[in-house]
């Protein structure tokens, strides 16, 4: 078979076009990408609640309003009660960053000397670690300062998200149908099959992963409180959010917990191990109970695909890319496989 007419090459061309369209769309809405993504996530989370009310004879618009009212009230309660406590803990963490850096420096210098002695070279690990730590410390502080200073962004999100979520819940299906009508007859059914498969998987993934993060945050916050670690609520939330990034996220959260433990006065090394142990226990709970029950086969990706995807998406789109890596690859895989199946079927018929 001529390589130019190979189904793989044709699929790749179409898939590249699809990716280019997606990237262009992301670029166009880049200024409001975060509120849009939050709204889409909320749409995926709250659509079943809206449909539940519709099934119980509540008018569709009223169902959406009830669900959104619940969302706004929950947010207000969070702002009123949880956020001040969380901000206090952010301030505590901010004040502890120099101590954390010092502890880390001491730790790395010690082990650097041990490694230097073992391999028999005169490695100046301490200088390297000091440079790295100065950068880490200033980066950490700037992240925290930025996070607390970006009040305007947060206000915009708080205003925009309920509006977008309302219209998504109300009109998404109609708008989607109108857009899908632009497909030519020859690709109409294929387009819908791909849409059906992608959305089914992404909805299951979004709902599963949100619940998983919530469970992880609760388990870790409770664990950190039990062992007497500082800022347990904030650490629990960070662990829950970092859990969105498989493999790498739990390691980072383990490091953060260990560092917070190391910065506590008086210095108690057992807290470092206990902090890490809490995350290990939470990971066991996650892998044995939560993942099989909640996420199951929502996305069926090989660990290598996941790691490579996180690295590539992360380097291209930053933090948001790291979070979007798994759903992005899962969706891309479905689109590619469906396109390939269709092109292969067509080429088999042409060949026959």
């Amino acid at each position: 078979m001529d390589w130019k007419s190979s189904p793989h090459l044709q699929t790749f061309k179409l898939f590249a076009l699809f990716v280019a369209v997606c990237l262009a769309s992301f670029y166009l809405i880049s200024s409001v990408l975060l509120p849009v993504l939050i709204s889409i996530t909320l749409y995926a989370l709250f659509e079943p609640a809206t449909l539940y009310l519709v099934r119980h004879k509540v008018n569709h618009s009223l169902s959406i309003l009830i669900v959104l009212l619940f969302l706004v009230l929950t947010s207000l309660i969070a702002v009123g009660f949880a956020l001040p406590a969380l901000f206090d803990q952010v301030a505590v963490l901010q004040s502890k960053l120099p101590q954390i850096a010092q502890q880390l420096e001491r730790f790395l210098t010690h082990y650097g000397e041990v490694i230097s002695a073992e391999i028999g070279t005169d490695l100046d690990v301490s200088e390297l670690t000091v440079t790295a730590l100065t950068q880490f410390s200033s980066l950490g502080q700037s992240i925290l300062i930025n996070a607390t200073n970006r009040v305007l962004d947060i206000v915009i999100i708080f205003i925009l998200v309920p509006f977008l979520t309302y219209y998504l819940l109300k009109d998404f299906q109609r708008v989607r149908n109108n857009l899908m009508n632009w497909l030519p007859n020859s690709s109409f059914e294929l387009g819908w099959v791909i849409y059906h498969n992608v959305t089914a998987q992404l909805k299951a993934y979004t709902r599963g992963v949100m619940l998983q993060s919530l469970i992880m945050a609760a388990v870790c916050a409770a664990g950190f409180t039990l062992i007497g670690l500082d800022i347990p609520l904030l650490l629990g939330c960070i662990t829950g959010i970092l859990n969105l990034v498989p493999y790498i996220g739990p390691i980072i959260s383990m490091l953060i917990a260990a560092l917070v433990g190391a910065a506590m006065t008086p210095f108690d090394p057992t807290l470092i191990y206990l902090g890490a142990l809490v995350i290990v226990v939470a990971q066991i709970v996650d892998n044995v109970v939560v993942i099989p029950a909640v996420i199951a086969n929502a996305v069926n990706l090989h660990p290598v695909q996941v790691i490579l995807g996180i690295i590539i998406f992360g380097s291209l789109f930053g933090t948001l890319g790291v979070i979007l890596a798994i759903p992005g690859i899962a969706a891309g895989k479905i689109v590619y496989n469906n396109l390939f199946a269709d092109i292969q079927n067509a080429s088999l018929k042409t060949g026959a």
């Binding site: 099934r55 299906q173 899908m180 059914e189 819908w192 079927n345 067509a346 088999l348």
Partner: protein, 159 residues
């Protein structure tokens, strides 16, 4: 004549919607489904126009749903054997509503045709809103598929 600039080009006219609902109601799939619900569901279905000779779907394509002939006619064939010539009010491709299977025949528009797609996506979204009626519809779908199976078995037995 409707003005394409001012009118909503995506919305089916009320009378056309009623025609689509009436045609679906005459099929075994919508047996005992209230007229009002059928109309609401038809409002979400997708109309497509096909030129004479244009392929509706081919053997092995991925099917997304059942198709109703609204205007024109469609020929359904396997290899060179004609299975059916479908006229307005006939429907085909309903297997795709039940299973993610590939199309088992070729379908081609014989004359300029207007077809109405009732997609699996539409069915699932409707079931989420109307589970009782959805269950009734699925029973009708099962009965229709069983009927087709009996007929296919009969044909094989006769050969």
């Amino acid at each position: 004549m409707s003005n394409i600039f001012w009118s909503n080009i995506f919305r089916s006219g009320d009378s056309e919607l009623r025609t689509i609902a009436r045609l679906w109601q005459q099929t075994p799939l919508f047996k005992n489904i209230p007229e009002r619900q059928t109309e609401l569901l038809c409002g979400k279905m997708h109309r497509r126009r096909f030129k004479p000779g244009e392929t509706v779907f081919s053997f092995g394509d991925q099917g997304a749903g059942a198709i109703l002939v609204l205007e024109g006619s469609v020929r359904v064939m396997v290899n060179t054997t004609e299975l059916a010539l479908l006229e307005p009010g006939d429907f085909f491709g309903e297997i795709a509503l039940a299973a993610a299977e590939r199309r088992t025949a070729d379908a081609t528009a014989v004359s300029a045709a207007q077809l109405v797609y009732f997609l699996k996506q539409d069915l699932e979204e409707w079931i989420e809103r109307q589970p009782r009626l959805g269950a009734r519809f699925l029973m009708n779908l099962s009965a229709t598929l069983a009927e087709r199976l009996y007929r296919a078995n009969d044909l094989i037995a006769q050969q």
